[in-house]
Amino acid sequence: MLPGFGLTLGCTVTYLSLILLLPLAALCAQAASLTWAQFVETLAEPRVLAALRLSLGASALAAAIDCVFGSIVAWTLVRYDFPGRRLADALVDLPFALPTAVSGIALTAVYAPNGWIGSLLAPLGWQVAFRPAGIVLALAFIGLPFVVRTLQPAIADLERGLEEAAASLGASRTRTLVAVVAPGLLPALLTGFALAFARAVGEYGSVVFISGNMPLETEIAALLVVTKLEQYDYAGASAIAVAMLVLSFAALILVHAAQRLASRRAGSAVR
């Protein structure tokens, strides 16, 4: 038996209580100053509903996009050797390391109708910045490293023997990928999705610049929290904050459950 369990657990619990639980308790207490009816009324406001729907929908879409492209990126980075691989590998982390405010103004500068890429899309009638598409873009940007970095070790840890066995048994490459590789990667993919999603639901800095902030259309939930605060409506702000917390936590639990299921499946498939 290793020593130090009591001490370290005590420290951990204390630190978590001070830094995390106490503040969250304050948040819940503030939201609890509303009656249940007021709480529901705050959340049922069309603007709040629309913002929550947008935040969740755009986050889910962005996380899904990250999963598609993140899988491709992670696969190529692990399995293939090509010029610029190291650079590409380093670039994946940039959205994480770049401050969100900088990402926000940079993406806006590039994708605004008169920006580098925005001006190329404008003649096609595509507008990205100041539309929901812009929000999805910003969220996909910040979520990318979470997906790629979760997938990379999983791909690297895949046992090639299994793939080789499948191939030697006559399975086509596509079939091997679908039947052997995909189930093995699913748990990691779900984790990546969950991380990207959870990060995106609350994202503020990179989105406010590019979203256009139109109520009911491109106004995200985090912005609504700020809006409520600016009207001295602390309880309303806390109510939305609690709703966001609960929703993203519920999503995390859901994904966690799915992930367990998937890893059990993958485990039994291997065995």
Partner: protein, 302 residues
């Protein structure tokens, strides 16, 4: 990771056809360029639009410099706190199995899914003039929010999962044989920790510190709520970027942004070097060619 002879996928029966590989590599490069590289390039292009002289003037401006100083101070305060917590939490949660452990691990991850704006809000509710502790602290002349301590605490809140996560998942993978051996030979718990555990997880620790550091320097939403925006005093560099941007001083805003982007690039460089080192150690240690990607695993230690 290195793609050495025997591992070259093209010679393996399990490789995709060449055109698929080219397509995937192409997609990767195009996607990364459009989404990541172009915005980064835009930051530098805008920052240097009026030449290096204007860039230099912008970043040597007094307020920007004080923002740099504040950002460094906040980071230098928040990161060690989180390292200490990360080590302690990793020992408790990574080395032991007990009831409620899952909940604690989930709690450690929680700040990742909390909106930065909400993170700022909770500290206003705690330390604001009408918050739980604000009035009492103010009576003793202690100002938490709208001053440096508030910035540090908000940053700690937002960034503490990064070190702890890395270490916990690292220690989880590790067996405790080495520690047990040290203990049975009469080493104290401390000695065991310093001489056995810490060296074995130093790369995970360093990696966590790098992530935590990057996040701490760049935090915007939470810090924006608790800063008060007093010029030259409580504006961190990301806030200074927003201020300059709102003053139509786009060159200066992007110059400050380019400083942050440089810091990000340095961070990434450090990380890449770290991984290269890991891969080398892993290759030397076990002769195995796997273990690319980020997570330094226990392989090198066994």
């Amino acid at each position: 990771m290195s793609a050495q002879g025997s591992q070259r996928p093209s010679q393996s029966p399990i490789a995709e056809p060449a055109w698929v590989r080219r397509l995937l590599v192409g997609l990767t490069l195009v996607f990364l360029s459009l989404v990541v590289f172009v915005p980064l390039a835009a930051v530098f292009a805008e920052a240097f639009r009026k030449g290096p002289g204007a860039w230099w003037r912008a970043i040597s401006d007094g307020e920007t410099l004080s923002a740099v100083r504040l950002t460094l101070f906040v980071t230098a305060s928040a990161v060690p706190l989180n390292v200490a917590f990360g080590l302690v939490a990793a020992w408790a949660l990574g080395k032991f199995r007990f009831r409620g452990r899952g909940l604690l691990v989930a709690l450690v991850d929680l700040p990742l899914s909390i909106s930065p704006v909400v993170a700022g809000l909770v500290f206003v509710l705690l330390f604001g003039a009408r918050g739980w502790f604000g009035p009492a602290l103010r009576e003793h002349g202690i100002q938490v929010i709208f001053a440096t301590p508030g910035l540090v605490i908000a940053t700690v809140f937002v960034t503490f999962p990064y070190v702890a996560r890395e270490l916990i998942s690292h220690l989880e993978e590790q067996r405790t044989d080495a520690e047990q051996a040290a203990l049975s030979l009469g080493a104290t718990g401390w000695t065991t920790f310093w001489r056995v555990t810490l060296p074995s997880c130093k790369w995970a620790l360093l990696y966590g510190v790098i992530l935590c550091n990057a996040r701490a320097m760049g935090e915007f939403g939470a810090v924006s709520v608790v800063s008060g925006h007093v010029r030259g005093e409580t504006n961190t560099l990301p806030l200074q970027v927003e201020i300059l941007y709102n003053e139509y001083d786009f060159v200066a805003a992007f110059a400050a942004a380019s400083l942050l982007a440089l810091l990000a690039l340095v961070t990434l460089l450090a990380k890449t070097l770290l991984e290269a080192h890991e891969a080398r150690t892993a290759a030397r240690g076990s002769g195995s060619s796997g273990g690319a990607g980020r997570s330094p695993t226990a392989k090198e230690l066994r």
